[in-house]
C-alpha cells in the first residue's frame, strides 16, 4: 500500500508549526518592541545629554560674559585709562581658564566708540601700539555697539593651532550716560567646550559634538576630530542615520543658540551600541530560537530515529512480509515499547510463517485432496456424462440439482438451464408430480422405484428409475433419477408379443392339428378296431388308440392353455384317466379312482411320456387288476418330491389293490408292450426310476424330474 502522508512529514510540519513558527513570530514581535523602546530610550537619553551639554556650555559662556562684564564694571574708566592699564586688564582676562586649566581666550581687544583698537592682548604674541587698527566696520564692533548686547561672531580657525575660535564682543557701557563707549572683543577658544562634551557620557560610546553652520565640527571630545577639520551634514536630524565616522548611529540634534549665532549640537550613539539591548534581546531570542530549533531538530531526530524509523522499518518489514517475504524480520532492538513491539512482531511473523507453512501444507494437502476430488469429480462427471441414459439428481422439491450430458442433450438444454427446473415440468409438462411418479415413491418409501411411462409430449417410452439419496442421518434428501429411453425396446416388445401371439396361434394351430391328426389316427384305430373281431387284436388297436389319445390330449391341453409350453398336468391327468375310465366301460365302474394330483405343470417333453406312462399303467390296472368284475381301487398320486437347481423332482405313484402283477414278470423284460413302454419311457426318456411293489396289489413308484427343453433347431 502506498503511504500518502508519511509520519515523518507530519512530524516535521508539526515541529515547524508548533515550535519554530510561534517562536519566530514571538521573537519578531519582541524584537520589534525592544527595538522601538530601545531607540526611544536612547534618543531620550541623547536629548538629555545634549541638553546637559547645552546648559553647561551656556553656563560657561555666560560665566565668560559675566567675567568680561565684571572686568568692565571694575574698571569703569578703562577706556579712559592708559594703555598699560588697559593691557593689564586685558591680560588678566586672558588668564581666565576653565576648570581643566585651559585658557578660554586667545586674544582680547578693547575698542573705543569709534572703532579704534585701544589695546590688544594675545596669549601668544606681543601686540605693539603700532599694530592696533580700526575695526569700526567690523561686525564684532558694530553689532554690540548698536544692540548693546553681547555679540557672537562666526567661528573661525586659529591658523597657528588649528583650534576653532569664536569672537565674543560685549559693549562697554557708561552707566552714568548709559551710552556705549566702546566694545571689548574676545577671541574665545572653543576648547573649553571640548572638555565639557568630553565629560558628558552618552551611554557607553556615545558622544556629543557641535557643528557650526558650515558643517565643520568645532567641538568634539576627541580634539583630533576637530583638528582634522571634520565636516558633517548639518541637515541630519534626530533618528537613525550616518554618524560622524560614517557608521550607522542614533542621532539627535539640538541647537546651541548664542545670541545671534547658533550651532548644531549633535549627539550620536553607534547603532550597534544603542541597540545593544535590542541585539541582546534579539540574540537571546535567536539563541532561544536556535536552541529550540536545535532541540526540536534533536527531538525530531530522536523521534525519527527512535520512533519513526523503527515504525518505517516495521512498515517496510510488514510490507515485505505482505509481499510474501515471510523470512523478513524486524531488526529493531531495544528495551522500549518499540523493541517489545519488534520482538512481538518478529514472534508474530515467526508464528505467521509457521502458520503459513502449516497452511501451505494444509493447502497442499487440500489441493491434493481437491485435485483428487476434482479428478474424482471429473471422473465422476465424465462417468456421469458417459452414461448414455439421462441421469439427474433431484431434491425433495423435485428440483433438478445435477444432470449429466445425456440428460441435457435429451432435453436440448444447457446444464445451467436445467438446474432448478422441476422434473415433472421437463418430463411430463405438468404442474406437479404425476401419478406413479417414481421420485415421489422413492421419497415416500425410501426405496428404489421404477416406472415405465409413455411421455406423450416427448413421444417416448421412458423407464424412470429412482434411487434414494440419504444424508448422514439416513434422511432422504433426494433421489438419483435415471430416465431410460425404452421406446425402441417397447416397440420391439410389441413386435415380439405380436410375433409370439402369432406363433402362439400357430403353435396352438399346430397342437390343434396334431391333436386332430392324432384323433384322426385314434378314430382310425377305433374304426379299425371295430372291424376287428378278435378282441385281442381289437384291444391292441384300442390300446394304441388310447396311447395316441393320451398324446393327443397333451396337445389339446397345450393349445387350450395359455402357456403353450406347459401342460396343466392335474387337469391333463384327470382328463386322461377319466377318458381311460370311460374307454374301459364296465371295468372302470368297479374301480374306485382316486387321483391325488398336485397342481403341476409340465413341459410337453415331460408331459407326453409321463402321460403315456399314466395311460399304460392305468389302462393296465383297469384292464388286468380287477378281473371278473372284481372291485377295487385305483390310486394315482403325483407330487413334487424335491428340487434340484431349476428342476423339480416328482413322485408318480400309481397303485391298485387288484390282483397284482405276477412275480415272474419283470417289467423291463416282459413282452408286454405297455410295461416295456413304461419302463423305457421312465428310464430312458424321463431318466427316472421305476419300482414295482407287488405286496398289496400293484404299486408303481416312478420318480422323475422334468426334462430340460432341448433346442430342436
Amino acid at each position: 500500500m502506498k503511504i500518502k502522508v508519511s509520519i515523518r512529514r507530519r512530524l516535521v510540519l508539526s515541529l515547524v508549526l508548533l515550535a519554530i513558527v510561534p517562536l519566530l513570530l514571538l521573537g519578531t514581535l519582541l524584537s520589534w518592541q525592544s527595538y522601538v523602546i530601545q531607540q526611544r530610550q536612547i534618543i531620550e537619553l541623547q536629548n538629555e545629554k545634549a541638553g546637559r551639554a547645552l546648559v553647561q556650555i551656556n553656563s560657561t559662556i555666560y560665566g565668560l560674559e559675566k567675567a568680561l562684564y565684571n572686568a568692565l564694571n571694575i574698571y569703569l574708566n578703562i577706556l579712559d585709562s592708559d594703555i598699560s592699564k588697559q593691557r593689564r586688564v586685558l591680560s588678566e582676562l586672558l588668564s581666565l581658564r576653565d576648570e581643566k586649566g585651559t585658557s578660554v581666550f586667545n586674544e582680547l581687544t578693547l575698542i573705543d566708540a569709534l572703532g579704534q583698537e585701544l589695546a590688544r592682548e594675545s596669549r601668544t604674541s606681543i601686540i605693539t601700539p603700532d599694530e592696533l587698527v580700526s575695526r569700526a566696520t567690523s561686525e564684532e564692533f558694530t553689532a554690540p555697539l548698536s544692540s548693546r548686547k553681547t555679540y557672537f561672531g562666526p567661528v573661525f580657525i586659529d591658523g597657528k593651532t588649528g583650534v576653532p575660535v569664536m569672537l565674543l564682543s560685549v559693549p562697554v557701557i557708561d552707566v552714568r550716560s548709559d551710552t556705549v563707549r566702546g566694545v571689548l572683543v574676545a577671541e574665545m577658544k572653543m576648547k573649553f567646550m571640548w572638555d565639557i562634551v568630553d565629560k558628558i557620557n552618552v551611554g557607553e560610546s556615545g558622544l556629543v559634538y557641535i557643528v557650526d553652520t558650515t558643517g565643520r565640527v568645532i567641538v568634539h571630545p576627541n580634539p583630533s576630530v576637530v583638528l582634522k577639520e571634520t565636516y558633517y551634514d548639518v541637515n541630519i536630524r534626530s533618528g537613525t542615520g550616518t554618524g560622524l565616522d560614517g557608521g550607522k548611529a542614533v542621532l539627535t540634534h539640538d541647537t546651541l543658540q548664542l545670541g545671534n549665532r547658533h550651532l548644531h549640537v549633535m549627539t550620536e550613539v553607534p547603532l550597534e551600541i544603542a541597540l545593544r539591548n535590542t541585539y541582546t534581546s534579539l540574540l537571546t531570542i535567536f539563541v532561544f530560537l536556535v536552541l529550540a530549533l536545535t532541540g526540536s531538530i534533536y527531538l525530531g531526530f530522536i523521534i525519527v530515529r527512535k520512533v519513526i524509523r523503527p515504525v518505517e522499518s516495521l512498515a517496510e518489514t510488514a510490507k515485505a512480509i505482505s509481499s510474501g517475504d515471510i523470512s523478513r524480520r524486524s531488526d529493531i532492538s531495544g528495551n522500549d515499547e518499540l523493541g517489545a513491539l519488534s520482538d512481538s512482531f518478529n514472534l508474530m511473523t515467526g508464528r505467521l510463517a509457521e502458520t503459513i507453512t502449516s497452511l501451505k501444507s494444509e493447502i497442499a494437502a487440500k489441493e491434493a485432496a481437491e485435485k483428487k476430488i476434482r479428478l474424482a469429480y471429473e471422473e465422476w462427471q465424465r462417468t456421469f456424462d458417459s452414461i448414455s441414459q439421462p441421469v439427474s439428481i433431484h431434491d425433495r422439491e423435485y428440483r433438478i440439482i445435477r444432470a449429466n450430458r445425456a440428460f441435457a442433450d435429451f432435453f436440448k438444454l444447457s446444464y445451467r438451464e436445467l438446474l432448478g427446473k422441476k422434473c415433472f415440468e421437463l418430463f411430463h409438462c405438468s404442474n406437479g408430480p404425476i401419478a406413479g411418479c417414481p421420485h415421489r415413491k422413492t421419497l415416500d418409501t425410501g426405496l428404489n422405484s421404477s416406472e415405465e411411462l409413455f411421455e406423450p409430449t416427448l413421444d417416448k417410452h421412458l423407464r424412470h428409475t429412482t434411487s434414494p439419496i440419504l444424508d448422514d442421518n439416513g434422511d432422504i434428501t433426494g433421489s438419483v433419477h435415471i430416465a431410460e429411453d425404452i421406446t425402441e425396446r417397447k416397440h420391439t416388445e410389441e413386435k415380439i408379443i405380436a410375433s409370439l401371439k402369432e406363433k402362439e396361434v400357430l403353435l396352438k394351430e399346430v397342437h390343434h392339428r396334431v391333436k386332430n391328426n392324432m384323433q384322426v389316427i385314434s378314430s382310425l384305430l377305433n374304426l379299425q378296431a371295430r372291424q376287428i373281431s378278435d378282441k385281442q387284436y381289437a384291444d391292441l388297436f384300442n390300446e394304441s388308440r388310447n396311447r395316441i389319445a393320451s398324446m393327443s390330449l397333451v396337445h389339446e391341453k397345450l393349445y387350450n392353455s395359455r402357456d403353450l409350453a406347459h401342460v396343466d398336468f392335474k387337469d391333463y391327468v384327470h382328463t386322461l384317466v377319466n377318458g381311460l375310465s370311460a374307454s374301459y366301460g364296465a371295468a372302470s365302474s368297479r374301480v374306485f379312482l382316486t387321483m391325488l394330483i398336485e397342481n403341476i405343470t409340465l413341459s410337453i417333453d415331460t408331459a407326453i411320456p409321463c402321460g403315456l406312462i399314466i395311460n399304460e399303467l392305468v389302462s393296465n390296472s383297469l384292464k388286468y387288476a380287477f378281473p371278473e368284475d372284481k372291485k377295487g381301487e385305483l390310486k394315482i398320486v403325483l407330487e413334487k418330491a424335491d428340487s434340484d437347481e431349476d428342476r423339480h423332482y416328482y413322485n408318480l405313484i400309481i397303485s391298485d389293490n387288484g390282483i397284482g402283477i405276477p412275480e415272474d414278470i419283470d417289467i423291463r423284460k416282459t413282452k408286454s408292450l405297455g410295461l416295456q413302454l413304461v419302463s423305457n419311457l421312465v428310464e430312458h426318456q424321463l431318466q427316472g426310476n421305476i419300482t414295482l411293489d407287488r405286496s398289496g396289489g400293484t404299486l408303481f413308484h416312478i420318480t422323475f424330474r422334468e426334462l430340460k427343453y432341448k433346442n430342436r433347431i
Binding site: 593689564r88 591680560s91 588678566e92 586672558l94 588668564s95 581658564r97 586649566g101 585651559t102 585658557s103 594675545s122 596669549r123 601668544t124 604674541s125 606681543i126 605693539t128 597657528k160 593651532t161 588649528g162 583650534v163 560610546s205 576627541n222 580634539p223 583630533s224 583638528l227 582634522k228 577639520e229 540574540l283 535567536f286 539563541v287 536556535v290 530549533l293 536545535t294 531538530i297 534533536y298 531526530f301 530515529r305
Partner: protein, 328 residues
C-alpha cells in the same frame, strides 16, 4: 560513530556554529586590548623632561593603560646612540615610541623608516619647521604629537613685564638643533617689538656656555633661555650664574620648577597628558598616528618666586595673579 549520530552532530554543528560565532567576543573598542600588554618605548633625552614622561604615563593610566597590567614601558635616557636604542626597541617589538625633542624624534623616525611603529612626540617646538610632520592636521609618516612652540614671544614679553627695566637681554643659544634657530628668530622679532636689545652667544658646550655667561655681567639685564636641549641640560649652570649675578631669567620652556624665574610655555606634565591621548588613540582606537593631527600644548605662566627673590626681583601681584604656577 554511528551514521545517524554523525548526521545529527553535523546538523547541530551547522546550526550552532553561527550561534557560537555570534556569541563569540567581537573585537570591540574596549575588548581588543584586553589581555594584551602593550610595550611602549620612551626616549627621554633630558632628565628635565621627565615630567613629560610622568604626564604621559599618568595620562595613559587615565585612558586605561596601567603600567604593569596592560602596558609596560622601556625608557632610555641615553641618547648618545639613538639608532641602537631604537633598534633595541624594534627587537623588543614595541607598539609605540614616545619621544621628546625634535632631534630625538627625527633620529628615531629615521631609524624607523619603513617600520610600522608609530611615534608620538611629547614636546617639539615646531614639528613642521623641524621636518617631523608635513602639516599639523595631517602629520603623515606614522608620527604625531604635541607641539609646544608658539609661546616664546609671549614668554619674552612676560620676562620684560616682570623686569620692566631690562633693556638688554642675554640669550645663549646652541647650534645643535634647528629649534633653537627658530626660537632665536622669534626672539629677535620680539626684541624688536619690545624695543630691547638682545645679547646672544653661541654655546654648544658647557665651556662655551660658562665663558659666555662670564662675559655678560654688567652688560645684560636678564637672561632668556630659548628652547634648546643643550641649555636645558645645563640649566643649573645658567640658573646658578644668574643667581650669583642677580640676573632675572625667563624662558618659554616651562622650566620654572628648575629655577627659571618666569616662564610662559608648556607644562611638561600637561604636554605629556596630551601626548598620552594621542598614544591612546593609536593603541586603543587603532588610529594611525599619521592621521592624528598634531595638537598644540597649552601655555601656562609659571613663576619661581624663590629665584625672583634670589635675584632681587619683586614680581608684581598683577603678574602673580595671572600665573598658573608659582614656586614660592
Amino acid at each position: 560513530m554511528h551514521r545517524d549520530s554523525l548526521i545529527l552532530s553535523t546538523i547541530i554543528s551547522v546550526i550552532l556554529l553561527p550561534l557560537l560565532i555570534l556569541l563569540s567576543p567581537s573585537e570591540s573598542f574596549s575588548e581588543h586590548t584586553k589581555g594584551k600588554t602593550y610595550l611602549t618605548g620612551i626616549i627621554r633625552p633630558n632628565v628635565k623632561l621627565q615630567n613629560i614622561v610622568d604626564g604621559f604615563k599618568a595620562g595613559m593610566e587615565l585612558y586605561g593603560f596601567r603600567e604593569g597590567e596592560n602596558i609596560s614601558y622601556i625608557q632610555t635616557n641615553d641618547i648618545s646612540d639613538i639608532d641602537s636604542v631604537v633598534e633595541k626597541m624594534i627587537e623588543m617589538k614595541v607598539d609605540l615610541i614616545f619621544t621628546m625633542t625634535a632631534d630625538t624624534t627625527r633620529k628615531t623616525l629615521k631609524k624607523l623608516a619603513g617600520r610600522p611603529v608609530p611615534v608620538i612626540f611629547g614636546g617639539i617646538y615646531d614639528p613642521i619647521a623641524s621636518g617631523i610632520v608635513k602639516s599639523l592636521s595631517v602629520p603623515g609618516d606614522n608620527v604625531t604629537g604635541v607641539m609646544i612652540g608658539g609661546s616664546t614671544e609671549k614668554a619674552f614679553e612676560w620676562l620684560l613685564k616682570a623686569v620692566p627695566h631690562a633693556k638688554k637681554i642675554y640669550v645663549p643659544f646652541s647650534s645643535e638643533s634647528d629649534t633653537v634657530a627658530i626660537c632665536m628668530s622669534v626672539l629677535k622679532k620680539s626684541a624688536e617689538k619690545s624695543r630691547v636689545e638682545l645679547m646672544t652667544s653661541k654655546t654648544d658646550t658647557l665651556h662655551e656656555l660658562t665663558v659666555a655667561l662670564a662675559s655678560i655681567p654688567g652688560k645684560a639685564d636678564a637672561i632668556f633661555i630659548p628652547n634648546s636641549p643643550f641649555l636645558i641640560t645645563n640649566l643649573e649652570t645658567i640658573i646658578k650664574f644668574a643667581a650669583e649675578h642677580k640676573l632675572p631669567t625667563g624662558s618659554g620652556t616651562g622650566q620654572y620648577k628648575n629655577g627659571i624665574m618666569i616662564t610662559y610655555g608648556q607644562d611638561h606634565f600637561y604636554t605629556g597628558k596630551i601626548a598620552s591621548r594621542l598614544a591612546s588613540s593609536v593603541l586603543h582606537d587603532r588610529i594611525p598616528a599619521a592621521s592624528l593631527p598634531v595638537e598644540t600644548t597649552e601655555y601656562f605662566l609659571g613663576i619661581n618666586l624663590q629665584t625672583a627673590t634670589t635675584v632681587g626681583i619683586t614680581v608684581p601681584d598683577s603678574i602673580l595673579q595671572q600665573a598658573s604656577f608659582i614656586v614660592r
